[in-house]
Symmetry: C2
Subunit: 250 residues, 2 copies
């Protein structure tokens, strides 16, 4: 599950509200940056609806391919929160109320208010380790290589902090960014391609953004090899300095 | 490819910059809302890196399952723009410079500036229809049930406008939202579940959001059946009115 010795991950976003466009997913980019900082490379992300078979199929596909799978969403007290049961099904294990999770809920919920719906948040697949939730107490969990977190961003972020210590860490991908400003991509593309070919250990991307001020291009270089990154970035800087913007806009 | 007679779609976001967290994807939520307006249901989204085999595998999996697949990213002039070639590979068709696409590029690029890199943007898989790009001219395309668009949001949006006329339209999913405000999910979860069970044609979700003002919950009902939606929404409104916030916060 580790590709070329690297530590890899996939994010699985679970929730109708993302697929309807009601809610803008912010968790994937947060997780991407967070994992990058600890040397875990996000290689894929998926969004699936609140449908058990879809969740099971995606978890199964992703957990076999990547070192870790991080899921967000679907672990609250309402009927549409089906993630824990789906994860248990994907692993073929039992799921039941976990006394450790009940104890966590009781830190925030009075015993007389711990009704059946709230107890659902203590349903944890057999064999899972709990992930603490300092915000609202209802825990996430980790089973095998799958980390199950809430969808609400501040809770997800707290759970990621709590889970990060359990993750293997790889060599961090280093990044260099070269501003091409308004220099059109079409001016530097051919030479940039040659630089990319000459530096196999460096991944180079060119990213335009459009605003009322016009097009602005950035070239982003990524590598685990600091020396190779610096050589490639130097070559790109020289290339951009050599060219100057002309009238053709793309 | 149509599930239960509904028109369905998947989004495939192509780009290392999304998986590294450099760029926040905004296209998926835009496409989700846009498709919803024309009765096309977004059922899945995936993000894959700029790697040919990953793009081919995802396109192949998704185009067999859904009525449409909409891709974003990877159709510019630089070496990391490999989407058109990957789509041709997925369909097993040739890819070459398309004279219609060259003509579009020449609306914006002077003939003497139409270098090899810029000509890459005219590479179109055999049998594809072009999708006009009123912003920067380099076209997207549609082949089979796959719609290939740029990653830059304003260009993607223009291409979606240009492509929308070619899509089959289904019955629009109607939405009703009931504010539960600070009423805890755990208070209404059991009764909400019963309402959901009693209205099979209505999908009901409960969505908390956290801010400095505390937790705020919204219940979202979705259905193609206006009468059923109104009945279920009425039941939810009565439920929420009947309950009042107490001290247990989740």
């Amino acid at each position: 599950m580790e590709q070329n010795g690297n530590i890899t991950a996939a994010v699985l976003v679970i929730g109708d509200e993302i697929l309807s466009g009601r809610t803008q997913d912010q968790n994937t980019s947060y997780i991407a940056r967070y994992l990058g900082e600890i040397g875990v490379e996000l290689r894929e992300a998926r969004v699936v609806p609140d449908v058990t078979e879809e969740i099971v199929a995606a978890v199964d596909a992703l957990r076999r391919r990547y070192t870790y799978v991080l899921t967000t969403g679907g672990i609250g007290p309402t009927h549409d929160d089906i993630t824990a049961d789906a994860i248990a099904a994907a692993f073929g294990v039992e799921i039941d109320e976990d006394p450790r999770a009940v104890a966590m809920l009781l830190e925030r919920i009075k015993p007389e208010d711990l009704n059946a719906a709230r107890r659902r948040m203590a349903r944890i697949p057999k064999g899972a380790e709990l992930i603490e939730n300092v915000i609202s107490k209802a825990p996430g969990f980790m089973i095998g290589n799958v980390i199950v977190m809430a969808g609400v961003p501040i809770i997800m972020q707290a759970m990621l902090d709590a889970a990060a210590g359990r993750l293997a860490r790889g060599a961090k991908v280093l990044v260099a960014t070269v501003d091409a400003d308004s220099l059109p991509e079409g001016r530097y593309a051919a030479d940039l391609s040659k630089i990319a070919e000459a530096h196999e250990k460096v991944t180079i991307g060119s990213y335009p953004s459009f605003s009322s001020a016009g097009v602005r291009n950035q070239i982003v270089l990524r590598s685990r090899d600091a020396d190779e990154l610096e050589r490639a970035a130097g070559a790109v800087r020289s290339l951009i300095a050599r060219l100057s913007a002309n009238g053709t806009p793309i």
